[in-house]
Amino acid sequence: MIEIKQVRKSYGSLEVLKGIDLTIDKGEVVAMIGPSGSGKSTLLQCINGLETISSGEIIVDGVSVFDKATNLNHLRRKLGIVFQSYNAFPHMTVRRNVTLALTKVLGVSRDQANAIAETQLQRVGLLAKADVYPTALSGGQQQRLGIARALAMGPSYMLFDEVTSALDPELVAEVLATLRQLSAEGMTMILVTHEMQFAREVADRVVFFHEGVIAESGPPEQIFGNPKSERLRAFVSRAG
């Protein structure tokens, strides 16, 4: 369970998150939508401590993320994250991208790591590309590599940050297929997305961000079918 309590965060004088409360249960798929700059990426990166918060608390499976005693490196293994901009490691092959943390962080043997990598690359349809360097991949392939890399660590939660936003429409489908499969397998996920149709289809709950607060949240039918606030209605109709 991920509990986000009264989280605030500022960059200098700019307050980006203004008191966020959100709880995500095991097995739940939560979609986060909202206009650009509303703080979605920031919140996602706060959940695994890549960004710090100004006040409030985030608790993952009973462990407080920003507690000094918490071993963040340890905690992050539970929380897979796939970034908005793809960030494959360009100096190693696709396979090594996946096995690196397995061998160096988890201490898995080379053979075992390779086996895990192959399973995960197979799952995202990249096995054929295992031995090329990421520069030789398309955007959609790089994004799927990011997914495989995160999944290989065996996380309990997956955080996806607009993994389709930088992609051409034909590539979007292949990444969404992977996400759909994951949700079917019961993975707990937080998805930041601009794909309303997709959010509607896979999410158990949709959270609408606006200017650093959660302006509205509820099941997809309610959010998309019967938005309460004017802002959400405008956003949904604009996003199509």
Partner: protein, 221 residues
């Protein structure tokens, strides 16, 4: 012109010169290797460290870059005497060049660190790497690739700087030449010969560097 060139003497001295060259090259290689290892934390510390760490690493870098290499060698050879430490010439030159290389390389790496996208760090940290692991496995391999030719140039500098050791009695390539010239007074012949040897060594280093230059988009075999 009545000067009588005697390159025969140089030929006789060739085995000694070769030994000197081997010492010069070894010192360059070792001090570069140590320099690279030291330069990594220095670069990171001076780039986004805090307080004392930044101050110390910046001081190291600026001292190494803004005082003559020969003064650095003198410091380790003569200067440490004040603390009762007396180093042999090769140790003094070795330590001084490690200090010097580390300073220059750290400045090179600092530039390289700026060139590596911040997302790479986040990507590594998100997989559970600590800062050291992230720098070691993800960031620095990319810095090395991006700064490869500058590292090669620094290697040449290191090689040329070993010649300063001759001034404190190191028996490197220049030291051997100085020794012979003091006995034979054939300064020009000996220094022309070692100029050629230095040139060949430097070109060899550049050739090897080019040979093993990491490519942009590589494909595994």
């Amino acid at each position: 012109m009545s000067y009588n060139f005697q390159f025969g003497i140089v030929l006789d001295a060739l085995p000694d010169l070769m030994q000197g060259a081997a010492l010069s090259l070894s010192i360059a290689i070792v001090t570069m290797a140590v320099g690279i290892v030291l330069a990594m934390p220095l670069a990171v510390g001076s780039w986004n460290g805090k307080g004392l760490v930044t101050f110390l690493s910046r001081s190291w870098i600026e001292l190494a870059r803004n005082t003559p290499c020969l003064a650095q060698i003198y410091f380790f050879f003569y200067g440490l005497g004040a603390f009762g430490i007396f180093l042999s010439p090769w140790l003094a030159v070795g330590i001084a060049l490690c200090f010097n290389n580390a300073g220059y390389l750290a400045e090179i790496f600092r530039g390289g660190l700026k060139g590596v996208n911040a997302n790479q760090m986040k990507g590594a940290r998100s997989l559970g790497f600590g800062p050291v692991g992230a720098y070691r496995y993800v960031v620095f391999p990319q810095v090395f690739t991006n700064t490869f030719s500058s590292i090669g140039n620094q290697f040449i500098w290191a090689l040329l700087n070993t010649s300063l050791g001759a001034l404190i009695g190191l028996y490197d390539l220049s030291g051997v030449a100085m020794d012979y010239q003091s006995r034979t007074f054939k300064t020009f012949e000996f220094f022309l010969a070692i100029a050629v040897i230095y040139f060949i060594l430097a070109k060899l280093v550049l050739f090897l560097a080019n040979r093993f230059k990491p490519g942009g988009a590589r494909h595994a075999a």
